[in-house]
Symmetry: C2
Subunit: 442 residues, 2 copies
């Protein structure tokens, strides 16, 4: 790409990965303004079909791009001039944050979330806000459509974040995950996405849902793009891995306790991935989790809802039953969850975290489904977090690898996970596996 002149590239700047775009700006092959204009043009063309954005001010974006172009070359950060979209539950000091809630349409915290501050420090252009399921939980759905089929959901809750990156409307975006809100939309939309180990990145400045689970995640055009943001956010394993081939790697396939929820598309995706790994010289063992792990899905539900009663109490006191009905039910604890239930679930989660670290330690990565199948018909149904909740509860890092297409013509992803704080190692394996699953460029 860096061999091309700016005029040549202008036609397809939206096809650059974030890494390539950053390199092109750094080498002066393109300007931040040209890149921003390309994305704004793409959005203008596609927004009516995809509806990913809740806030986008072209003049604001272009002013930021011009400021980036005017900045001295010295001291530029790794994302200098690269646009990033932000899920609309994450605070941005110069844009509103609505949570896609009818009660917060005029909400405008004048501070940046820690993640957004780190992006700005790295030179990123904050492109705008991306639609989300209400409060990143339930209630109002995002207006966003799946870019591959407007009758399908993009998944939730980071609906706009996944769709915008998958549709080349922005090269990078931020999402959040408390159940499956980063990985599920990535699978449905066909995007690269990463949910790091819990609390490896500050959650400060996005709406708290369940403090034990809430995790910032991000979307990009490639594994290298995910790694670029991992650098910005300071993600580091204890020991740096230098994995440059799949040959000889030990991979575990973990069906997880909910494998019976895998539809044919997911069964096929796992089968194809295992075949690709084996063909590349990796060994693939099956890792069956102990029966204690069978309780994790229920434990996730108990912890999430119990913690939501703390997290949303202020909103419930202010807004009451005008909040959406599922949230009101949780606030009223119609399920009758006790503190003892919560502690039992927390104790099980802690025990299984330690156990999984040990079980997964012999492997270079663990393969598991991203979603039960491809994107269901939307918009009310945003799909299921069935295969994500366990890993979110366990705090394990997860990467969604896109590239596969199911029999129905829709994208489907697979997840690589592993022990806590093996984030970089998993990214390296994902970077090697990704091209084996993607069709060759046309």
């Amino acid at each position: 790409m860096t061999d091309s002149g700016q005029d040549n590239m202008a036609d397809d700047l939206t096809q650059l990965s974030a890494c390539d775009a950053a390199a092109a700006i750094a080498s002066r092959a393109i300007t931040a303004r040209a890149l921003a204009e390309a994305y704004l043009a793409r959005i203008a063309q596609r927004d009516a079909a995809v509806r990913a954005w809740t806030y986008l001010d072209a003049a604001q974006v272009l002013a930021a791009a011009d400021a980036a172009d005017a900045a001295p070359m010295d001291g530029r950060g790794p994302l200098h001039g690269v646009p990033v979209g932000i899920k609309d539950i994450i605070y941005t000091k110069d844009m509103p944050t609505s949570f896609n809630s009818p009660h917060f349409q005029d909400y405008f915290p004048n501070i940046d979330a820690a993640s957004v501050a780190m992006l700005r420090d790295a030179g990123a252009i904050i492109m705008g806000k991306l639609d989300t399921v209400e409060f990143a939980v339930n209630g109002r759905r995002a207006a966003t459509k799946n870019p591959h089929d407007p009758s399908r959901t993009p998944g939730g809750s980071s609906s706009g974040s996944a769709a915008a990156v998958a549709d080349a409307q922005v090269p990078l975006s931020l999402g959040t995950q408390t159940g499956g809100s980063v990985i599920r939309p990535a699978s449905y939309c066909g995007a690269w996405a990463m949910k790091p180990t819990w609390n490896a990145v500050s959650h400060e400045g996005f709406k708290v849902c369940a403090a034990s689970f809430d995790t910032l995640g991000w979307y990009g055009r490639s594994a290298a793009d995910l790694a670029l943001l991992a650098d910005v956010f300071g993600i580091a394993d204890d020991a740096a891995s230098a994995i440059d081939t799949l040959h000889g790697l030990r991979i575990a396939f973990c069906p997880s306790p909910v494998w019976d929820r895998a539809e044919p598309a997911t069964q096929q995706a796992i089968k194809t991935t295992i075949a690709a790994l084996t063909a590349a010289g990796a060994t693939v063992d099956t890792l069956t989790l102990p029966t204690a792990f069978d309780g994790l899905t229920a434990a996730h539900g108990v912890i999430m809802q119990s913690e939501m009663r703390s997290a949303f109490r202020a909103e419930y006191l202010a807004i009451g039953d005008a909040l959406y009905p599922e949230l009101v039910d949780i606030m009223r604890n119609t399920a009758g969850q006790t503190r003892a239930d919560l502690l039992k679930a927390q104790n099980l989660a802690a025990q299984c975290r330690a156990a999984f670290d040990t079980l997964a330690a012999p492997y270079d990565a663990v393969l598991t489904p991203s979603t039960p199948g491809t994107a269901p018909l939307g918009p009310q149904n945003t799909g299921a977090a069935t295969f994500n909740r366990i890993w979110t509860l366990l705090h394990m890092p997860c990467v969604n690898i896109p590239g596969l297409t199911a029999a129905d013509g829709l994208p489907i992803g697979v997840t690589l996970t592993g022990p806590r704080f093996s984030d970089r190692k998993i990214l390296q394996v994902a970077a090697l596996l990704g091209p084996k699953l993607s069709p060759p460029p046309v």
Copy 2:
């Protein structure tokens, strides 16, 4: 109190507990304005000596009090017209939040923390912001003096929050605890204080330090005041206790693994408390913790510092080595802590949480020191969180009971703790024990 006329009470409105003040306003015995004026007068008289406040605007407070007085009686909340002071790391939409950092003197998030929003919903008057150790950790000390002896520290990090309540400058205040930042200053200043079970109250909207530990806490004039705020924040045990006498209660004295750090003042305070309990007909057993608990103090340090590297990364990227030296050391990880160290510490913490819940279950409350001794000479030395860190790490609820005076003439508190989510039960025991430790009113 409700028998007295307003004129009679005006002289000593600052001596009312929050509960009595709320009741007096509700019965129209006093006005919110009269109460606010009394506290403003007290502050004007005492501020030069105590220096608890970082932000206080008398006109703003009186306007809020007048609005409270003008509000219809119908629909008033339980704190209607009662002033509450806020630690200056907690966001208030109409007041700055400086973290007592030289880098954030003009910081003014325009949103309320969840805790502040709940206070406003209950009708509280937000009185102003209270001084803190920088970022509630280390670095710059609060300007606050111990109200009992200006040469002594009020303790940290919630220095102003404890001192202001102990000095009758406000009836209630909010603090936060990641190590011992609520309970330690309460012991040194002679104030009632509560740190509830972790995540029973939303931490949204105060500076994150260590997400696994950060807990909102509060100060009041009595156990009933602490319970009043517990109501507002929705603190509930699974089963309501109705403890109306100490007689027959089973109390454990837990020396904790750091008992060798107890100075004579603390040894005497525990001895006096055990004698009071026994005299009242309670049985007091000694609860010696298993040896696994010996590692908790070190585990607390590893988790806190590791999580601070996530929590302060944005600030470190922006400000760099101009942050205070101890924080820079943590950001650079000069201690060489690994992710493996963090996981080992997290696993130990989780194991001991479950174990302590079981060990403490047979008791109505667990007695343990609040501080190694009385307040040391300040201002640089803010005392030690030695006896608090274990309980913060374990997520257990803690109440500091004031009233005792050590041989040096300074206040010293004792802590009641217990299993997770036994907050209300502990408060009930504390309410009965408190009067046994306090000197009779003059």
